[in-house]
């Protein structure tokens, strides 16, 4: 579904150049929930944002669903983005619209008329469990509900891929779990391919069959999640997983 070849990006600042991504090679299969982990600044969000070109890579190739994303012109890119959903850490809903109009936003952008939008919005709202909130304003919703709107909006045009940029990092653990279970459910029901970027390793352990670990813009581990958690090959992988286990081990065991 997603094939990335030798993707590189350099951040040029007044202080010099910092490599953000270095020759990333990655394959993500259709219907997978693929996890991308790493310390802050490892390049995992940058990588995700390069996939739909919210950020431009400097070199390399990205093929999503047979389309060579980096070669698309502005117009074709906008079309391609309609087939790639995305959700964000801070939801990025529009406060000037109610829930229904937020969900309908991509349909409106695609030029659908009111009747078409209305039917689809109701369908999407029931998919994410928000049928009773259609007339609410984003400011009246809890964090979890906001992310549900974000998901419904991202899925409105029926994309085959969903990019999640730290989508549960601003939520409390029980709410984060509900959102992840919703994503898992959507993955199974719709065959949606999900790319999940997070700094929380336990999320990847619980929900992703395949994963990659990034450090300083390079992939240091990649493969089945179970195998990597059992026996990480890289030093940074060992370190990260070790920290993760100490942080999330039950308190009485630590003492």
């Amino acid at each position: 579904m997603i094939r990335v070849e030798k993707l590189s990006k350099i951040y040029r600042t007044s202080l010099g150049s910092v490599p953000a991504l270095q020759e990333i090679d990655l394959q993500i299969g259709a219907g997978e929930i693929f996890g991308i982990a790493g310390y802050s600044g490892a390049g995992k969000s940058t990588f995700l944002r390069c996939l739909n070109r919210l950020e431009e890579a400097d070199s390399g190739r990205i093929v999503i669903d047979g389309e060579d994303i980096r070669l698309l012109n502005r117009h074709d890119l906008a079309q391609a983005r309609r087939r790639i959903g995305m959700i964000f850490q801070h939801f990025n809903l529009l406060d000037s619209r109610n829930v229904a109009d937020n969900i309908a936003f991509p349909l409106e952008l695609a030029g659908q008329n009111y009747a078409q939008r209305r039917a689809r919005v109701e369908e999407l709202a029931s998919l994410v469990g928000l049928s009773d909130k259609l007339l609410s304003r984003p400011s009246q919703l809890s964090g979890g509900q906001k992310q549900r709107v974000g998901i419904a909006r991202a899925l409105a045009l029926g994309p085959r891929v969903l990019l999640c940029d730290e989508a549960t990092s601003a939520l409390d653990p029980p709410t984060a779990l509900q959102i992840l279970e919703l994503l898992q459910d959507l993955n199974q029901r719709l065959g949606l391919t999900i790319v999940l970027v997070t700094h929380q390793l336990e999320i990847i352990r619980g929900f992703c069959s395949q994963m990659a670990l990034l450090d300083q813009g390079r992939i240091v581990e990649r493969g089945p999640t179970a195998r990597i958690f059992r026996s990480p090959e890289s030093l940074i992988g060992k370190k990260l997983l070790d920290v993760g286990q100490k942080l999330f081990r039950p308190a009485e065991v630590m003492a």
């Binding site: 995305m86 406060d95 936003f105």
Partner: protein
């Protein structure tokens, strides 16, 4: 003149209102697009273009650095060419609007810049083109703040009309100078001032009400 005072005041009031709201409206029609261009051509934004941003910013800064009275005098030939005369309230609209536009552009630029860029990115990720981002994200999301900015601008334009009044534009400013100041008519001075205060208070009240209406819609 005392007997005529109410009538003279009434005419001057209407002239002032015409110039203030007329110039504000034309200034807004010029200023809002300029503000949108300033914001969207900024580095990293949807229509990034350093050349356009910098040259527009330069022109706006230059226009704004003229003292109001000088700018108005400089623009009088343009008013004569467009309206046929350089005197009266219709002619005054030309320099007032052109004087107001860069000010309004800067005020509205601030409001548009305050829209979190994540919302713009979300729209782009959903396949929005730049025009859709401007029309469906930037302007609606900034609306309450834009209304506050427009209120500030209208009141600033009211001040400009008083200055224009000193060189033949008519209105309350002109009345205050010609009768109140130059002929020592205290009653004219006081009544024009009271009217100006009332206009400012009413404008601010209305602007606040509108801004609250549009922001309470979202809570």
């Amino acid at each position: 003149m005392s007997e005529d005072l109410p009538e003279i005041l009434g005419v001057a009031l209407l002239e002032t209102l015409y110039m203030t709201f007329g110039a504000s409206l034309i200034g807004l029609l010029m200023g809002l697009p300029l503000a949108v261009i300033l914001v969207t051509t900024r580095k990293g934004h949807i229509l990034e273009s350093e050349a356009i941003h910098k040259s527009l910013a330069f022109v706006i800064n230059m226009t704004r650095s003229f003292p109001a009275i000088i700018l108005i005098v400089l623009l009088l030939p343009l008013a004569r060419w467009l309206v046929g005369t350089s005197l009266g309230m219709h002619a005054a609209l030309v320099p007032l609007s052109i004087g107001a536009a860069p000010f309004i552009a800067r005020v509205l630029e601030t409001s548009l810049n305050d829209v979190p860029f994540g919302k713009v990115e979300a729209a782009l990720a959903l396949g929005a083109n730049p025009w859709q981002v401007i029309r469906k994200v930037l302007i609606p999301e900034a609306l309450p703040s834009l209304i506050r900015g427009i209120t500030v601008s209208v009141i600033a334009v009211l001040g400009l009309t008083a200055i224009a009044g000193t060189i033949g534009a008519g209105g309350l400013g002109s009345l205050a100078i010609r009768y109140g100041y130059q002929r020592f008519r205290e009653d004219v001075m006081i009544s024009t001032t009271v009217l100006l205060v009332l206009i400012v208070q009413l404008t601010q009240w209305l602007g606040d009400r509108l801004a609250i209406t549009f922001s309470s819609e979202r809570t």
